[in-house]
């Protein structure tokens, strides 16, 4: 049985071209970029070149890019680092109920440290309201963190509107762009973004490296100590092979952006049409117009997440509920709960499928066939029981 990977929002297979770009670096570019000799300078060249490519992709400047270990660290540093450094300006933070836990857990930590946090609701289509944000803003607000694209539903948030709302406010605007980076056109200046997090392994790059864009004028406290690297904001010897891989992955993403968007949209339509042809009852969660093509979140009435995911995996289809697990069991999605309310059935019967480099039209439609068979079997069993 051929296994089919439909979980690219969790992580992606590394592009072979990325691996090829990285391979010689491990052995040949081993210098420490902080060293004052030729080996160090060579490493520094690769690092700077990667930084430049990342910066240009979002219209930022090279020195505004801070390499981190990944998206989680970038989110943590952006939120905790700026909150701590700007305490004198206020103690209020605004975020949304549907953020990734890298943001939610960070603001929760700040709450424990005495900050006041407002969690904005989202509507039933998964979009945060700019008006609600406007109402929540106070003179005390120092950080606003709203994700670019939701990782469970793929819904694109009104980033530019939020950016322009905050233009004349002291609050710094952070966006977790992990699911948008390399797929959507991002311009931090036009969109008024002060800080942005991204991660390499979501775009067919290596694990263990991410980046935080933080505007030149942002006061930020470091969360680790021990060197001058990354302008002291994130000390520690840099990971050159990973930075090179990140760069290569991003170059490929930019080069094929239009193609990928088209292809993923085809995958999504193929998948949904196949389910419809099998007469499967389903609903797509999230605003149909405002969703990235790579993610589709589907509710299957009369089923439940754990049974679905286990069956899918046993039949070789890898998907996810997009939400956190404790002790291996799937917790109800906080994102869908924010959209539909705690008691809604969709929270317990929705699956996220996310498309990417592993997929072809053929394996996507094969996956749909397998999924349909499982749904039919489960819902028939259910009907017989009652």
């Amino acid at each position: 049985m051929e296994r089919i990977y439909m979980d690219h929002a969790a992580t992606t297979p590394m592009d072979k071209r990325v691996a090829e770009a990285m391979t010689p670096i491990f052995t040949e570019v081993f210098g420490n970029p902080s060293s004052v000799h030729a080996f160090g300078r060579l490493a520094r060249q690769y690092l700077d070149s990667a930084r430049r490519t990342l910066a240009r992709s979002i219209q930022a400047r090279e020195k505004e890019m801070i390499f981190t270990s990944g998206g989680t660290e970038a989110d943590n540093l952006a939120i905790i680092g700026t909150a701590m450094a700007n305490r004198d300006k206020g103690n209020h933070i605004i975020t949304t109920m549907q953020e990734h836990h890298a943001v939610l857990d960070a603001v929760q930590y700040l709450e424990e440290q005495g900050f006041h946090v407002t969690y904005l609701p989202v509507n039933e289509t998964g979009i945060v309201s700019v008006d609600k944000l406007k109402e929540a803003l106070t003179d005390e607000t120092i950080v606003v963190s709203v994700m670019y694209v939701n990782n469970e539903t793929g819904v694109i948030q009104p980033i530019e509107a939020i950016g322009s709302l905050l233009k004349d406010h002291q609050a710094m605007f952070h966006t977790d762009a992990v699911q948008a980076f390399g797929l959507l056109d991002i311009d931090v200046n036009r969109e008024g973004i002060d800080m942005l997090s991204a991660s390499a392994h979501k775009i067919n790059g290596p694990n263990g490296i991410g980046v935080l864009y933080a505007g030149d004028d942002i006061a930020m406290a470091s969360m680790q100590f021990g060197g001058e690297q990354e302008r002291k904001r994130r000390p520690g010897t840099e990971n050159i092979p990973a930075a090179v891989g990140f760069k290569r992955a991003l170059e490929l993403a930019m080069e094929y952006k239009l193609v990928r968007n088209d292809v993923y949209e085809q995958y999504k339509q193929t998948f949904l049409e196949a389910l419809a042809n099998h007469n499967i009852r389903y609903y797509v969660n999230g605003d149909a117009e405002q969703t990235v093509p790579s993610i589709v979140n589907i509710s299957f009435p009369g089923t439940n997440v754990e049974t679905l995911l286990t069956n899918f995996d046993l039949d070789g289809v890898a998907a996810s509920s997009g939400s956190a697990c404790t002790a291996g069991s799937v917790e109800p999605s906080h994102v869908l709960a924010a959209m539909f309310g705690r008691g809604d059935e969709r929270i317990t019967n929705s699956i996220r499928f996310s498309f990417g480099a592993f997929n072809t039209i053929d394996n996507v439609s094969e996956a749909a066939d397998r999924v349909a068979e499982i749904i039919k079997r489960l819902t028939n069993e259910r009907r017989q029981e009652t």
């Binding site: 754990e306 049974t307 995911l309 286990t310 069956n311 995996d313 046993l314 697990c325 404790t326 002790a327 291996g328 069991s329 799937v330 489960l378 069993e381």
Partner: protein, 369 residues
């Protein structure tokens, strides 16, 4: 008949050594083995780490050693509704419930079995020490070969239909064998301590656990003839025949719990392990389950009134209202309402019931339960 490799067996894995070895044996027999961890209770230890996470981590390690897929399933709601609520209600009624029996009946061999079947499983396997025998026309449950570990007492509410879909790979083995295999195969759970007590209480203090859920009502301790002997902390904390924790000093033989008066909130105590008031000669039990249809109205067999107890001869009479009346061939000490009475014919477990009423010379012992 299906070949083993085409037979899917879901193994309920707890992260303990028994279920680890159960999975190992099935894997070696060539079955299509799937390991599944049940999360029934949400709890954290003193360091704030979810205890289920630690156990699940062990399941992950073992399954990776065996190269079988692993998953988890959450039955917290089912467990709360069907087991924990029952557990609290029973304590509130002054009885001593057996949540393991209920967990097997409602969770492991109902909700979990259904989950396994929904995954295309042919069988559900667990690490219980019990055996299934196919007689051709039905399925019987036999005691585990390890006399000391036999767990049929806790499985008395299963039925032939359920047993048809169940495997107990450890049933013919001793605990020693199981540990030896785990050690030989270097399973990470090989020297893990056996879990003790009730899963959701774990190592915690029982009284303080119960106090979190039920209000304790302290009251008087009295002897059967009415002499006051101090105070009890709440009837639910005591079980019939218990010696520890009474705090009655003085000379003479140790003191034991003889019974409870729920209405007046009195705990009856008396001296001597063999206090006559602790002895009875019969009982009435409800929630009767026969693993296979029991047509005889009155019959003789053996019974256990608590786990690991030796069997005793009894005469069972099935009554019109669905309850059973059990007459003991020898007097029994400290029969406890809420516990299970489980019936055996030789090695075969016939079924069981929940003890409601304790009898002596035809009279109900009003102070018990």
């Amino acid at each position: 008949m299906k070949r083993n490799e085409d037979t899917r067996v879901v193994v309920g894995m707890s992260g303990g050594v028994d279920s680890s070895v159960a999975a190992l044996l099935l894997k070696e027999q060539g079955y299509d083995v799937v390991g599944i961890f049940m999360k029934n209770w949400d709890d954290t230890d003193d360091n704030g780490v979810c205890t289920a996470t630690e156990d699940f981590d062990d399941v992950v390690r073992v399954c990776n050693q065996l190269d079988i897929p692993y998953f988890a399933v959450n039955f917290e709601k089912e467990y709360w509704d069907n087991v924990f609520t029952y557990f609290l209600n029973e304590y509130q009624s002054g009885r001593t419930p057996n949540p393991d029996v209920m967990c097997n009946k409602e969770i492991k061999f109902k909700a979990f079995l259904n989950h396994a079947l929904s995954l295309g499983a042919d069988y559900l396997a667990t690490g219980h020490y019990a055996q299934v025998r196919n007689t051709g026309s039905s399925f019987e449950m036999l005691r585990g070969a390890d006399n000391n570990k036999d767990q049929t007492y806790f499985l008395n509410q299963l039925t032939s239909d359920v047993l048809a879909e169940v495997m107990f790979p450890l049933g013919h083995m001793t605990k020693q064998d199981v540990r030896a295999i785990a050690k030989e195969r270097d399973l990470v759970t090989a020297s893990k301590k056996d879990s003790t007590g009730i899963c959701f209480i774990g190592e915690k203090n029982f009284k303080s656990f119960l106090r979190e859920y039920l209000p304790a009502q302290p009251g008087l301790m009295k002897t059967m003839d009415g002499t006051e002997k101090g105070w009890h902390e709440g009837l639910m904390y005591y079980t019939i025949g218990q010696r520890q924790g009474l705090g009655i000093g003085g000379s003479g033989e140790p003191w034991f719990v003889l019974g409870k008066n729920l209405k007046d909130n009195i705990l009856y105590v008396g001296q001597g392990f063999d206090n006559d008031k602790l002895y009875s000669d019969g009982l009435i039990a409800s929630d009767v389950n026969w693993i296979n249809n029991m047509t005889e109205k009155t019959f003789t067999c053996t019974a256990k009134f608590r786990y690991r107890q030796k069997d005793s001869g009894v005469t069972v009479t099935q009554m019109e209202d669905g309850c059973v009346r059990v007459a003991f061939h020898e007097k029994q000490r400290a029969i406890t309402p809420g516990q299970a009475v489980v019936f055996y014919d030789g090695q075969v477990c016939l079924g069981g019931a929940t003890i409601d009423t304790v009898l002596k010379e035809g009279e109900t012992l009003a102070y018990v339960g």
